[in-house]
Assembly symmetry: C2
Homo-oligomer: 280 residues x 2
DNA sequence: ATTAATATAATTGTCTGACAAATAGACCGA
DNA sequence: TCGGTCTATTTGTCAGACAATTATATTAAT
């Protein structure tokens, strides 16, 4: 298996993509080789030197410890006092580094004995935060976010139809069973339906797609207060997920995708209805 | 247009999704309403109280300033000294908050006069970092990441076929023209091709999809050193993007998607070849 | 007059030491 | 056994100082 080689992700990784993200309209910037003073320009091109802060170096060191698995999830890092001794930096510098790692979702800190700096396993929540921040700044309309989910989750369903393992299929069955028994109990029903969706997403067996689909889903549910569902709507939803499961069982990816898309569309319709009502 | 309501993204936003992300296998945890001591359990459910740090509150305040547009991108925030005065916290606390915002891509700091704390417009780079971190920890194989791009970018192409504006189409034409003229000059050719891809992604007019597609692309190109292309390969690539543009012009989304998928697949094949060679 | 060196001032970066706050556990008493 | 109190550990916050960086003004040299 080909996995990552460069283990450390630096914040300043200058890539072709990020460099070109500021789209200049496609005009090639070749540039003259002669400077204004007439002297021939040297060929060597040195990028501007970024002098790293001590706190950044500390963050890198600790991050690599975590990423390389030198400390396991749930374990504690040495206390601030020890880290200060070992690293030879001041506590202020160390703490700035800790705040960086914390925002990356890699650690959490708690005061008191048995507290300290514990290593976390970052999950989609960080992606969700980044995404939400970007969408807020762009003032992205809700419809666009919905559309993205309507495009992504069917992809997952389609892959799941090809790849779902027997245990996963059994899980899907159970979740539908719980939904069926929960009709009338909104919170329980919604929770089970959510589990169903997550299982489908997992069954696609593509981490990137999983993280993306979950994060866009989280953005949506963070923005839409929990919405009530009538019993009729619950029964419709139940039928829908049953159809999705049947398509997955039949290994019919296209059908699973189509049904997932339509299921999501139905849910969005309900949601927009409620929002419209709430506005008046 | 329905846009975001809750303007501030807090790090502890407890959502249905994030709560359920730790999949428990679908078993509903209804729980008994009677505690072991026999007393009736109250209905009110209070979440554990998170005592926020001063530095977190400071970060929130400054973040909201930026997100609500009180300070424009490129502007400077007050100096640390002033902020310390205005906010009534110590410099250490303030600086921890600044490191958090910096990690979120919202600000950058530089020493010296005319330096200070400048507001940035965060871009996909943050998403890219989060994603790369997660994929490293999961030890996600390269093939999965490629697959994700092969699924996402065709989606963009498909939407672009429906939505590309005349200026965008003109841009695509120009970028292809540059590619044609650059055959033989690898770096120039690759840059133009990249611009083409980015324009297609933009032309999909879906921010979420754009951010996702760009970030997965960045993850890939960060991991694969720039790869040389023979002249033959460049000509094949040229044909491919011409085909994509024709499909977009014909507003044939399915065709545009299929051709994009095949184009990416071809590129991956070359890339894997080079990697295999480099290994020996 | 132009250029190069130097001083100056503003801002962030780092260090030190101290104290406050939170918290787990031990100890003690009713 | 149940509370309360004390104690020790760890993070959270503060205050003040100095170092490093850098734009600008000043001065000196050619």
């Amino acid at each position: 298996m080909t996995v990552f080689n460069n283990l450390i992700v630096t914040a300043v990784a200058a890539s072709l993509w990020s460099a070109a993200s500021t789209n200049n309209g496609g005009k090639a910037e070749v540039g003259s080789l002669i400077q204004s003073n007439g002297r021939a320009k040297s060929n060597v091109h040195l990028e501007t030197l970024r002098v790293p802060r001590a706190s950044e170096l500390v963050a890198e060191r600790l991050r690599s410890l975590i990423v390389m698995g030198k400390v396991a999830t749930g374990d504690s890092l040495p206390s601030e006092k020890e880290l200060v001794n070992q690293l030879g930096v001041s506590r202020a510098t160390l703490r700035e580094a800790l705040r960086m790692l914390e925002t990356e979702g890699l650690i959490a800190t708690r005061p008191g004995p048995k507290g300290g700096i514990v290593v976390l396993r970052p999950d989609a929540a960080n992606l969700t935060r980044s995404l939400a921040l970007l969408l807020q700044l762009e003032e992205t309309p809700f419809e666009i976010i919905f559309e993205a989910r309507r495009l992504l989750e069917p992809l997952c369903a389609s892959l799941a139809a090809e790849r779902a393992t027997p245990p996963e299929i059994e899980q899907l069955r159970q979740q539908i069973e719980i939904m069926r028994q929960s009709v009338g109990n909104v919170s329980s029903y919604v929770a089970a339906q959510l589990s169903f969706h997550l299982t489908v997403i997992n069954a696609a067996h593509n981490d990137v797609l999983r993280l993306y689909t979950i994060s866009v889903g989280e953005v949506i549910s963070n923005q839409t207060a929990s919405v009530g569902l009538t019993e009729t709507e619950q029964l419709i939803g139940l039928k829908a997920v049953e159809g999705i499961l049947r398509a997955i069982l039949g290994k019919n990816g296209k059908l699973a995708a189509r049904r997932t898309e339509s299921h999501l569309h139905g849910f969005e319709t309900i949601l927009l209805q409620r929002l419209a009502v709430a506005k008046n």
